[in-house]
Symmetry: C2
Subunit: 720 residues, 2 copies
């Protein structure tokens, strides 16, 4: 690594009070990072320009050079395809005249021709730090915004995937008689920019535009711009707690022997019953102390005027007093030696108002000073079924393997209720952390990595304080515990101070896309989908491909299944003649369609035929997953639900001995307003759930869950 | 219109047995249709080439000319930017040598330079006929596939909208120092191609590529290709029934005084009870004749051995016998003088098998020969609540203003049950028409146009026989009766015999996009969405814009509402300071967020405050619609549902006096497993539905319905 020349260059700019490098300087620096720049020579006399042009051979380009010269093209200071000494002489004079007092010389370089122009660059995102972009260049850069992004650092394989993501990637192949681009060279450039981003915090932005592909496929950085950070000091971040300290604190919080509620109130029948009642009602079995100076007892427990009066530290303090009283409450925590706090109260930064922001800064200072571990403020807190700990109104006592980390308190309640009630998905640990005063999503995530009760991690995020840490953690944890994330906030302001289009092409959405592609995290759009996908991960094994077979009945399942599979990137693979012939041996033609989907009433009415069908289908290497579609209204008509119950029992038991371990799910439809059909549906759901068969409403939801499962395993197949 | 020269050209090609015009011929033809072609001269002697080049001035282009010369660029027969007589001489010889015996001369034309290249063209789609495309051209045409399409004919305004749809439209503006493109000229070209497509069925394809924009903004067709249909005869289509005849037949079918069921069976408790039982059970009040040679009576009605034995024509014959017996049954219809038939039986074209296709052709011939009007085969048939006519198992007796035309029988049952049960949407007339033997979707549509009981038309389509008629009808009817269409079959084969990229860029999806954009039909993706959107059209008035205000409570409604509105193209417009100050006068700050959404518990607990809020919001011109979000679990906690019922009653009654006629809908959330909360929810839904307030599960569905409503009214605002 030729650090010395880069160091010297950066120092030179600082000394001269410049932030933008000249093209010549930019190219020199980038060359050290593996960028194949089109080199040239800066000359300040016309005769030298001609001599140099003759030396390198025509055609050449001549560009104005000077520390203060920017927007050279727009100012007419770039002249290309000059074929003679005469032309060089002419344009040299024109450029010198146009540039005026900013002129310091001209850069003479070989003219590299190519009809395919790309752009590559580096910029810094507020959440994710140094990011690299690659996209279509030339006059189309802004008009088409066809670009891919990656968070640095990344390796060559990742760079290659990045190149494959742009729509105009066809231009990199054999194109209109021109040779395929040397993608190895592009990979080297992108990895070089990634390295530069990591090694040189002084550099704010790099813009290589255009990156020309010659007719022979060579890659050449024809123009480049490097911009330094105006502020050379990295931002001061508050001291972070160590991972070990956070881990220990969360261990105590999630298994507390004692809890105190500051602001405990007498329970009331109207509205929210209060934090104290929530915890007491859920059946917390440890010591539980109400703190309220205006009460003697609350719900049969002696009340304390202040936290300190309890006379010993407690494992978890829940603060439920108006925002202005929170600073005092935190001081009490410190005074009593209680380190772990959930602040339920709201009225801080989230209000967007001055007083709220001031209060949040105040409590953050108190908390960090006192070494407090804070969940919140402005959040619902904790739900740990095994510890009988719940800081909101309702939640199932049953626990399960799914964890949830949520920026929103409302979503923590809604999602856990929905998942349990509708899908039979239960939870290990749930954290609603709101404004993330000292503990952010990444802290909970890292804790859950080591939590034996957690097999799957679900997250609701609006933003994150440290995007790089999130990427690092998710990339690591996702391998063994699928991380399913709902990223809300499409309208997130993408405001970043960037001068070039390298950064301006990157909206928040594109940056988060990069995060998902790099980490392999499973992306979902709604809370319902998050629960449905978690169910698939909980109950199903690996997929080896994207082939799906659908079996069952129901109006137009053919088109519906095909549309749903296409939409989710699954392959409703057609059966070959041999397979269809074997199916025809026991599926009569009348009323049954033997193809994919298998639209055959008979295999539901006579369950062993479903087993035979699955035997044949699961033996096909191109079929990796199965959806059985049950139209509850239609099935009910036979034997008033008896047939339905029989097929459900078969799927719950015998059927899975015929799938060779390939994932199988059930999709149901039910429309008629019949209570008996609905009761049958409920019974079917129960028997399937208890047997561990995921059950979804409709083929589209089933296909979506299987599509996400397939994405996950494909991510790791691609990286093997 | 210079028809003669075009006629002469086409005749010339036919005589010579050619299908492709030369560039010179293509340009001559296109010039007559308003395309600004770059004219040139065909010469066969080098001296003439030089003379012509000197006459028009350098630089010029020289291209090989000949009836058999195609792929000129790839064969090296195009030389551009020639600046001297010497260059012209040289390339003339090179081109002549390369073209060999195919050479008939060289085309010499001015060289038009421009960095912005587009493409325009015409092709014929199997469903929709002549279609025009416009897109990014040059080397990017195929790589980026950035193109818009329209079904011909269309006017200048439509052409302008088309141009505005491509992603690279920015290139048409002031771009990198080049003048904005003369879009009037592009509009003229597109309208010209539309006219050409309508007037000249002999022309199969037109490809104008590139269409260059000069630095001064002029538009120039630099190269062009016109291809004729190899088969000059239009396809023979079976004689169609007249609109009047169809109208009369459908009038009889939907108000039958007598029905006969061929293949009536004794009802059985297992599975589908049979067509006869379906009709009898729904309470059909006219004459109902079972036809079955092996029964004396069915469900207490005398059975007839054959249709003819009834001794008179019946208004509607329902055929429910195996496919091979359908031809005989149709002959009986003709013999008995019964003209109107629903064929329930399947086993025809939809099987994709030879015998099924043969049978369908046979019955189509019988039907057309006998002048029969056929609904089906392979379909569920008719559901006309007011006529007490239903040809499937279950449907509400209640009728409403929504019609449904469905290619799928299963969807007809599922959708109508869902809409009625979940949303309170009821139907006027429902047709499930399956394979569309003589009556297709367009026939039902045209009938519904005049049906006084129908105010809104919903359709489920997989394909359509006559796309142009569909476009024409939907465009006309949609103005007064919103037409809501679910187009299924994403994987529809887009196979069309096209030689150039003009057509190959158009997948089925892009062509249907053009249909929706042109007709203004409301596009939905699922049956549930179709019902939800129909509800909005049934209950709500016009929208004058896309501004939405959301009011209510519930975890994280801020982010969720913003994401949902962004997703549906709605504007969750921020309130200004003045409005917020007025709201603050009666909404206390504690626990309430005064912004958009208004996240304020208090306005739900004290309903008159909701009225005051609505007064203020509905007075804002930028707010056009309102969503009230009710979190049932949270609200229930207050007064065990009493508060919920009170606010529902207020919204059902008083609240709408405060909206100034602007649309208002309710979105609910409910997650906790509580029967009492669910009963309250049910009661709330009932009271709101009865008052005509649309109720949706969740803000995203509410936003989607309002988004579609807004699209509809915006379509007509744009066309005023």
């Amino acid at each position: 690594m030729k650090t010395t020349s880069a160091d010297r260059l950066i120092r030179k700019l600082r000394t001269e009070g410049r932030w933008s490098m000249t093209e010549d300087e930019s190219k020199k620096l980038l060359q050290d990072y593996g960028v194949p720049v089109v080199k040239g020579k800066v000359v300040d006399r016309v005769n030298d320009a001609v001599l140099y042009a003759q030396k390198i051979g025509f055609p050449v380009v001549v560009k104005g050079h000077g520390a203060k010269l920017s927007h050279k093209t727009e100012r007419g200071l770039v002249k290309i395809n000059l074929k003679s000494a005469k032309e060089v002489r002419e344009v040299f004079r024109v450029i010198k005249a146009s540039a005026g007092s900013d002129w310091e010389g001209c850069l003479v370089a070989p003219f590299v021709e190519g009809s395919r122009e790309f752009v590559a660059g580096l910029f810094r995102d507020a959440q994710f730090g140094p990011m690299v972009m690659f996209g279509l260049g030339g006059i189309f850069t802004e008009a088409l915004a066809d670009a891919a992004f990656r968070i640095a650092p990344f390796d060559e394989k990742e760079a290659r995937r990045m190149i494959g993501e742009i729509s105009s990637r066809k231009l990199l192949g054999n194109f209109r008689g021109e040779a395929p681009a040397d993608t190895d060279q592009i990979v080297k450039i992108l990895v070089g920019l990634s390295r530069l981003g990591m090694e040189r915090p002084e550099i704010k932005e790099v813009d290589i535009n255009p990156l020309v592909i010659t007719p022979k496929g060579k890659v050449a950085a024809v123009d480049a711009l490097v911009v330094l950070n105006e502020n050379s000091d990295p931002p001061v971040r508050p001291a972070q707690y160590s991972t070990k300290a956070i881990h220990e604190a969360l261990d105590v919080m999630t298994h507390p022997k004692s809890i105190a509620v500051i602001g405990a109130t007498r329970t009331h029948s109207e509205g929210f019953p209060g934090m104290f009642a929530c915890i007491a009602n859920f059946g917390f079995e440890g010591e539980l102390y109400p703190v309220n100076p205006r009460a003697d007892e609350i719900m049969g427990r002696k009340a304390f005027p202040s936290l300190v009066d309890i006379g010993k530290p407690v494992d978890l303090v829940v603060i439920s007093v108006p925002a202005p009283h929170v600073p005092a409450a935190l001081k009490d925590c410190i005074a009593s030696g209680s380190k772990n706090v959930h602040i339920f109260s709201s009225g801080f930064k989230e209000t967007g108002e001055e007083e709220g922001i001031r209060l949040q800064n105040e409590i953050e200072a108190i908390a960090r000073e006192g070494g407090l571990n804070i969940v919140g403020p402005n959040c619902m807190g904790l739900y740990i079924p095994k510890a009988r700990l719940l800081t909101w109104v309702n939640g199932p006592v049953q626990s399960g393997p799914v964890a949830f980390v949520s920026q929103s308190g409302g979503n923590a309640q809604d999602y856990t209720s929905y998942a349990a009630e509708k899908l039979g998905v239960y939870f290990s640990k749930v954290f609603s952390y709101g404004n993330a005063l000292t503990l952010d999503s990444t802290d909970f995530l890292e804790y859950l990595e080591k939590d034996d009760e957690t097999k799957i991690i679900t997250m609701y995020l609006e933003g994150v304080k440290d995007g790089r840490r999130l990427l690092e953690l998710v990339t690591r944890i996702n391998k063994t515990k699928p991380v399913i994330i709902m990223k809300a906030g499409l309208t997130e302001s993408g405001a970043r101070a960037v001068a070039s289009h390298t950064g301006s092409l990157a909206g928040g959405e594109k940056i988060w896309n990069a995060f998902f592609r790099q980490s392999g995290a499973v992306r979902v759009e709604t809370l319902e989908e998050m629960a449905e996908v978690a169910l698939a991960f909980e109950r199903l094994g690996k997929t080896a491909g994207r082939g799906v077979a659908v079996m069952g009945t129901g109006g137009g399942i053919g088109v519906a299944a095909a549309d749903a599979c296409t939409h989710e990137g699954l392959n409703l693979a057609p059966f070959d003649e041999g397979l269809m012939a074997k199916l025809r041996e026991f599926i009569p033609p009348a009323g049954n369609m033997i193809r994919n989907p298998v639209d055959a009433h008979v295999i539901l009415i006579e369950p062993p035929l479903l087993g035979k069908t699955l035997d044949l289908l699961s033996a096909q290497p191109f079929l990796n997953m199965f959806i059985i579609s049950l139209h509850m209204d239609w099935l009910f008509a036979r034997g008033q639900g008896q047939t339905t119950r029989e097929i459900a029992a078969y799927i719950a038991g015998e059927a899975r001995r015929h799938t060779k371990g390939k994932p199988l799910v059930v999709a149901w439809r039910q429309y008629s307003p019949s209570d008996s059909v609905r009761e049958t549906l409920q019974a079917v759901k129960t028997v399937l759930r208890e047997a561990g068969v995921p059950v979804y409403e409709g083929i589209p939801r089933a296909a979506k869950a299987l599509g996400k499962l397939s994405n996950y395993y494909e991510y790791y197949r691609d990286r093997r």
